[in-house]
Symmetry: C2
Subunit: 343 residues, 2 copies
DNA sequence: TTGTATAATGTAATGCATTACATTCAAGCA
DNA sequence: TGCTTGAATGTAATGCATTACATTATACAA
């Protein structure tokens, strides 16, 4: 591989001039710039990034930590992230933590050695110590998206989870449902707590009682939706929910399978609302009513935020993006033998 | 950040000794090794990878190029890849090409500058020139998985596509289907051509005619399955297929939606087979019969293969893994008014 | 014309780990 | 005891781009 020296030789100037022609073109004569450009083309030079990184103490690499690459929810966020990053000359290193603490540690360790410049966290399922220690000690550029730590104030991009949940419940209530259950994500997760809060407050606002057995915990995956769905649908009919709000589309789809198995029709006997609006939600049977998050935009915002942090700009502590309830075919008016609608 | 010098100082030896204690412990006294170890702990040293990479001309980074991160088919392959890589001290840089040529180019450019040591291609949708040029000129470590270029012999991990397709068709035929159609992936893709070959040869073996309108091209996504499905299902009844073999599960699910829209029952009126066995295929309605690929193992094999290439080991040119037909609820015996089964 | 300010370019130090080569030291042998 | 040999360690060059500082060239003013 040719080095900057070869270019300098070919352009008949010093390496410093070549470097400047590349990094600060305005500091160099028009003529020199051209000479350097053609020399670079001639020798086929491209800078050795290891050397550059060593010198500049930066890597132009951003680590994005997520709980599970396989989850389609993240794919569009990643696309948004990457687009912004690439435009700005940054590379994205995707880190799948798979609920495995060691992995996260390894990715955090990239920062102090200049192998990465910053981190975007799409998961809160990592040891809090990693974050506090790093953020305090070495002031690591760190941005969160979707999730957050309630103990900490980090720059964060997110949606209004309580509101989104409340809207979903409000819609179900407007359809005449009174027995509304919810299958949550992992409850150590603040966003799930928020959604449950939104659920409860809206239930209260609608004067609907909440049976404690109507709030069950899943893990966002198909299977947990299926299993928890079985439990909910096996309740005696006066207690069994006529509508269920799920914290993910995958769980909603698992739930709908449980309903089929139990010969409970969706939406005639049971209304289902999901969360995320993944591609699949339009193709499942019935098509899923769901809360849509602006995933691409979440990714973009998070990356922009992190780049601003890196550039020492002032950044907002919170960026809240709006959600939208997408009504499809999995929700319908409450079944006839339901209690009369509120006076 | 402390450097190797600080360690040398603390351990009262030279930097060379510290380096050796880390890289070739056997070249150093037991005593020194311990001294160095505790010095490292004391000063909190971790090596600057940029400097190491610069010196060693390697990056311990593997680029994995895929057509679309959002496709759940890849997620498990990635998990397998990453697991092997991390175990061996390598990092994985995921590159989403999004059918965009420029991206691929950019990732290939990482190699000559030692920003990456090798590439695993999970897509053939990149300019062939990139591969030939690189592979010829600088002998770039390159391994393919799933897909391949038929013009080139690169180390490749894959399944027997013609066989897998033939098995699917054979199964449909055994159920009495005679009008069997197929929705393919992009036909510039050798694996799709292979699957069509397998389809055709098995149809021939079963003495079943192939109507040219039964072979239609999709792009692996939900929507294309839906659209091509509409076309196939709109055919006059004597021509309309009673079974359709899709090159991806997403297309199969799109197709099933088209069937619902047209009030065609699956599997009673129409049998559907997918390909890949993505998580969803168990949760759609009806559950999807599909060809399962050992995705995790494909990922592992590909990474092992690449690491072998990097270590200049002799590697096999082809590694063929086996598939399995998973029979679920989307396939059933051909509808009654079908032509009599073959004499 | 000489001096000064400014732009353009060059020189050389720097970042950090690795490693070829040089040196030291101790063990083993005659 | 003196010499050989090999292990252990040290010295210093190396990889490559960047940049502080030094030097030269150019333009303009006095």
């Amino acid at each position: 591989m040719p080095t900057i020296k070869d270019v300098a030789l070919a352009a008949d100037c010093s390496t410093a001039t070549v470097s400047r022609a590349l990094a600060n073109p305005e500091k160099v004569t028009e003529a020199t710039r051209k000479r350097v450009a053609s020399a670079i083309a001639k020798v086929g030079y491209s800078p050795n990034l290891a050397a550059r990184n060593l010198r500049r103490s930066e890597s132009r690499t951003i680590v994005v930590l997520l709980p599970d690459i396989a989850n389609p929810f993240f794919s569009e966020i990643i696309a948004g992230l990457e687009d912004v990053a690439h435009r700005e000359g940054y590379r994205v290193l995707l880190g799948d933590c798979e609920h495995d603490t060691g992995r996260a540690q390894a990715y955090f360790d990239l920062l102090p050695t200049n192998q990465a410049d910053g981190i975007i966290l799409l998961t809160a399922e990592i040891p809090l110590a990693l974050v506090t220690q790093q953020a305090r000690g070495s002031q690591i550029p760190l941005v969160m998206a979707c999730e957050y730590f309630d103990q900490l104030t980090l720059p964060t991009v997110r949606i209004d989870n309580p509101l989104a949940a409340a809207r979903a419940v409000e819609y179900l209530s407007s359809l005449g449902h009174r027995r509304i259950a919810t299958i949550t994500g992992p409850m150590q997760n603040p966003i799930c707590i928020d959604r449950v809060k939104g659920y409860r407050s809206e239930m209260a606002r609608q004067n609907l009682p909440v049976n404690s057995r109507w709030v069950v915990e899943g893990d966002f995956g198909f299977l947990s939706g299926y299993q928890q769905g079985q439990g909910l649908l096996a309740m005696p009919s006066e207690e069994r929910p006529s509508a269920i709000f799920c914290h993910s589309d995958e769980m909603a789809i698992g739930l709908m399978k449980a309903a089929r198995d139990a010969s409970i029709r969706v939406p005639e006997d049971l209304s289902v609302i999901g969360f995320d609006n993944i591609g699949l939600s339009e193709y499942c049977q019935p098509e899923l009513t769901t809360v849509s998050q602006p995933r691409d935009e979440i990714g973009r915002c998070a990356m922009r935020l992190l780049l601003d942090v890196l550039r020492k700009k002032q950044v907002p502590h919170q960026q809240v993006l709006s959600t939208q309830l997408i009504v499809r075919a999995s929700t319908a008016p409450a079944p006839a033998p339901a209690p009369a609608p509120r006076a």
